[in-house]
Symmetry: C2
Subunit: 188 residues, 2 copies
């Protein structure tokens, strides 16, 4: 039942976005009775929190290309591909919009990204082992920097994102890490 | 009258955010008759577009510290100070939320940021002249990189921003630029 409700939540978000996420719509789509959905998930934010919780627990396809530059490029391209996907893209946008309007949804989204940053930290750990970047490089900060320009374009400046934007963000994050600008005690 | 309506728009946004931006509230606050506000500004998005248009035309206090690192740090700290300000912060958040929900507001916000990127380009032009970064460095991309991690934290991951986060984002953008990762034809 939880899977059915989650699938229905994602489908409704994909088609109608956050403003269209009503418990009734999810109940109808999932075949679960609406009083059950209300009792277990409460409201739209409860549905989003659960969908994000499941998503956060799923392993991210962390790349292992042999270089930090290649790994960061693959991570950044994953973000671009996700937002370009006709099903996943609207859901991801809906999650961000929900977080801007609801404290519960925000907490769920933040936990999701914290988990993503943790999962991706291994690409930086490997780069430290290979001697590509200084020991003490802040892994989460490298990952943030590789994807932040893409989210900035999408949600703030409204500029397009594509593989070139992904590659450039990844190259910049890699260069900053190699220069020692992203160690735990940042270079002034 | 335009100034009065703009001041009222910012005050209502600051206190009630985008969901609370009603033409009636702006009319009452500004002392301009609501039929006039409706006729000239149309709706909440028209009010936001006009407020952003005026803001975009205002010069940004572009720093000139003598080094690219110093200038980028000052720019990033301006963003942190803006969001920390009890009046400006809620308005800036409301603009982003409005853009996520309205095409008109999005176009206004995007024009605002395009103008900001143009205004800030001079700090990169000076750094090229001083030989700090390679000729052909993409000025807008350096500025994006210096502020994107702050917006990513605020609007996507929900992580706090402070002067340390600003300094780190600025240092990373400067390091990437110096390494040649932000030239018009990006280093692979």
């Amino acid at each position: 039942m939880r899977d059915a409700v989650r699938e229905a939540t994602l489908a409704v978000l994909s088609e109608h976005g956050y403003p269209g996420l009503a418990v009734e719509a999810v109940a109808a789509r999932s075949g679960v009775h609406k009083t059950t959905v209300y009792r277990r998930w409460g409201n739209a934010d409860g549905l989003i929190a659960d969908a994000l919780g499941i998503a956060a627990a799923e392993p991210w396809p962390i790349p292992d290309t042999g270089t930090l530059a290649g790994d960061l490029r693959a991570l950044a391209r994953l973000v671009v591909a996700n937002f370009a996907d006709p099903v996943e893209g609207p859901v991801a946008r809906a999650f961000v919009l929900a977080a801007a309007q609801s404290g519960d949804a925000a907490r769920s989204l933040h936990a999701f990204f914290a988990r993503r940053h943790e999962q991706a930290a291994v690409v930086v750990a490997r780069a430290v082992e290979r001697g590509e970047v200084p020991a003490g490089t802040d892994a989460a900060e490298v990952v943030r920097l590789a994807v932040a320009p893409l989210y900035y374009r999408l949600f703030i400046t409204g500029e397009p994102i594509d593989e070139q934007a992904a590659d450039r963000a990844a190259a910049a994050a890699g260069a900053a890490a190699r220069a020692g600008a992203l160690t735990a005690a940042p270079v002034p």
